[in-house]
């Protein structure tokens, strides 16, 4: 584990070094009209942009001499395009998100447009758009970049490995963990005793590893999303959908005969009703359950982010009506209140996702009652 913490230290050092380079590079690119965001439309755009995944890690902006300085660090862009694998740092785009900055690597030309990277077709020198502002002469390469969310996933994964790996190691020395392990242990016991055991039943042990991983991953992601660093991992539909599909695959694979007989040919009801029930049950199992899992988590976390940022924006939007001081106090009080609720929601959503996963798995592995 010492090796891991060393790796983390050196990684953060690399980011710190690239920080300044990134910030300096800005000055040349930004031309004049740099204004702080202060109209409602700009705020809405800013919020929607924040909620999305992005190719670089943006922390904050500051303005001096009428110039905008973005502070953050670039993340590696890894693409599989027409000419094979290419990798470069996202700073190569110089914060351009409108397809103007063309990056040439390995014989391919890449542009970034609304958070998505396009590869220009051979021969093209700039992007051309159709009426709906979709590029016409570019294709989308397979994007394996370490985006903000991927960086978050890796970071949270490492954190979990570090924390729980250390906890696991502590048990080899003595039966009761010390320090931070003493905080983690009751949480592990909580998930095992309150989520896995009551919902799954005697076969809980096989699934506890997955449930623990999901629970802590979602919880840590949610909590980090509340920090002003800009993580929004569990607010990405792709991430929550992947988590929901994990649960889906697990309960589909481990479903026993009893479960499938109740799905497809419900015993104890009139024969005519059975196909109807089978359709309803299958719709629930195949579509509604994973969909609700994914959308619930995504919507709750995204909504939390949007609400907090909107409340922060009150300080700007309401300035005219209630003076700067008044709007700032109002936004501070409201956003503080909502942030506290979000801390609760962070845990609650992790709990609900894990609980429902356990419940669905429990339904699939439930043994028939012997009368």
């Amino acid at each position: 584990m010492k090796l891991v913490s060393k790796t983390i230290t050196s990684l953060s050092l690399i980011f710190l070094v690239s920080f300044s380079v990134f910030a300096n590079g800005d000055k040349d690119v930004q031309e004049g009209e740099a204004n702080p965001i202060n109209t409602q439309e700009e705020i809405t755009d800013y919020i929607l942009h924040h909620v999305k995944d992005s190719h670089d890690f943006h922390l904050f902006d500051y303005f001096s001499n009428g110039e905008k300085h973005e502070v953050g660090f670039p993340l590696p862009v890894i693409l599989w395009g027409e000419n094979g694998l290419t990798a470069f740092m996202s700073s190569a785009f110089h914060h351009d998100d409108n397809g103007k900055e063309i990056v040439e690597r390995g014989g391919s030309k890449f542009v970034k447009l609304h958070g998505k990277i396009y590869e220009l077709n051979a021969g093209a020198s700039s992007v051309s758009f159709d009426e709906e502002h979709h590029p016409t002469n570019a294709s989308t390469p397979i994007d394996l970049s370490i985006t903000k969310s991927v960086f978050g996933i890796l970071f949270f994964g490492l954190l979990m490995l570090l924390w729980f790996g250390r906890l696991a190691k502590q048990y080899t020395k003595n039966a009761i963990p010390t320090g931070f392990g003493r905080v983690l242990e009751p949480l592990v016991i909580y998930v095992r005793d309150e989520i896995a055991k009551p919902n799954i039943g005697p076969k809980y042990r096989k699934f506890t590893g997955y449930l623990l991983t999901v629970f802590f991953f979602i919880w840590i992601s949610n909590l980090f999303g509340l920090l002003p660093l800009g993580f929004n991992v569990t607010g990405q539909l792709a991430v929550t959908a992947a988590l929901a599909i994990f649960t889906f695959v697990i309960y589909m694979v481990s479903g026993n005969g009893h479960f499938w007989s109740h799905q497809l040919w419900m015993p104890g009801v009139p024969f005519l009703l059975r196909p109807v029930l089978a359709i309803i049950e299958l719709a629930g199992t195949l579509i509604i359950k994973p969909f609700s899992l994914a959308v619930r988590l995504f919507a709750n976390i995204s909504a939390g982010h949007i609400v907090v940022m909107s409340l922060v924006a009150i300080a700007i939007n309401m300035q005219d009506q209630m003076t700067g001081v008044g709007s700032t106090i109002l936004s501070l009080v409201l956003s503080l209140f909502i942030t506290l609720i979000e801390v609760l929601v962070a845990f609650l959503q992790a709990y609900i996702f894990t609980m429902l996963s356990a419940l669905f798995i429990g339904m699939a592995v439930e043994e028939p009652e012997h009368h």
Partner: protein, 166 residues
């Protein structure tokens, strides 16, 4: 719905799936398995310790009950022994008394019998002696009387007078 689909990035989905699969595998191998095993072991250990403590307590109780019972038995036995001893003592004393009394009675009887027989023999001897003495005295008196003729006559006369009276 369109907004939802726009939010969905297939690249991120694939990356999350792969990374999460790796994370599950690593966490299960390096964290959850050892943690859950140790927790189970510890809980088992605690349960065993509690069970054995309970067992020890119960054994202790049994032992105490045994001790109490033994003590009570011993006390009862002692009581019985003492009672028996007391009875024995009393019996011995009374026996001895009776025997002594009987012996004493017998001895007294014997003594009385001896005294009686001694008395009888002494009386008999005394009678003999007295008879002998009387005879001697009578002889002497007779002799003295008969030495004188008158006196002899007088005696005969007296004796005859006496015989008449009879």
């Amino acid at each position: 719905m369109e907004q939802l689909l726009e939010n969905f990035s297939l690249d991120l989905f694939v990356k999350q799936t792969v990374l999460f699969l790796i994370l599950i595998f690593l966490m299960v191998k390096f964290a959850w398995k050892p943690i859950l095993n140790s927790l189970n072991d510890r809980e088992e250990g605690i349960k065993n310790a509690l069970d054995s403590a309970e067992k020890a307590k119960r054994e202790m109780e049994n032992l105490n009950a045994d001790n109490d019972r033994l003590l009570k038995e011993a006390r009862a036995e002692r009581e019985a022994l003492m009672k028996e001893a007391r009875e024995l003592k009393e019996k011995m004393i009374s026996d001895a008394k009776e025997e002594a009394q009987a012996q004493a009675g017998k001895m007294i009887e014997q003594a009385q019998a001896a005294i009686e027989s001694e008395k009888k023999s002494a009386m008999a001897e005394l009678k003999n002696e007295v008879a002998g003495l009387s005879l001697e005295i009578a002889e002497k008196v007779v002799r003295g009387e008969l030495s004188n003729k008158d006196k002899q006559l007088k005696l005969v006369e007296d004796m005859l007078g006496e015989a008449k009276l009879n």
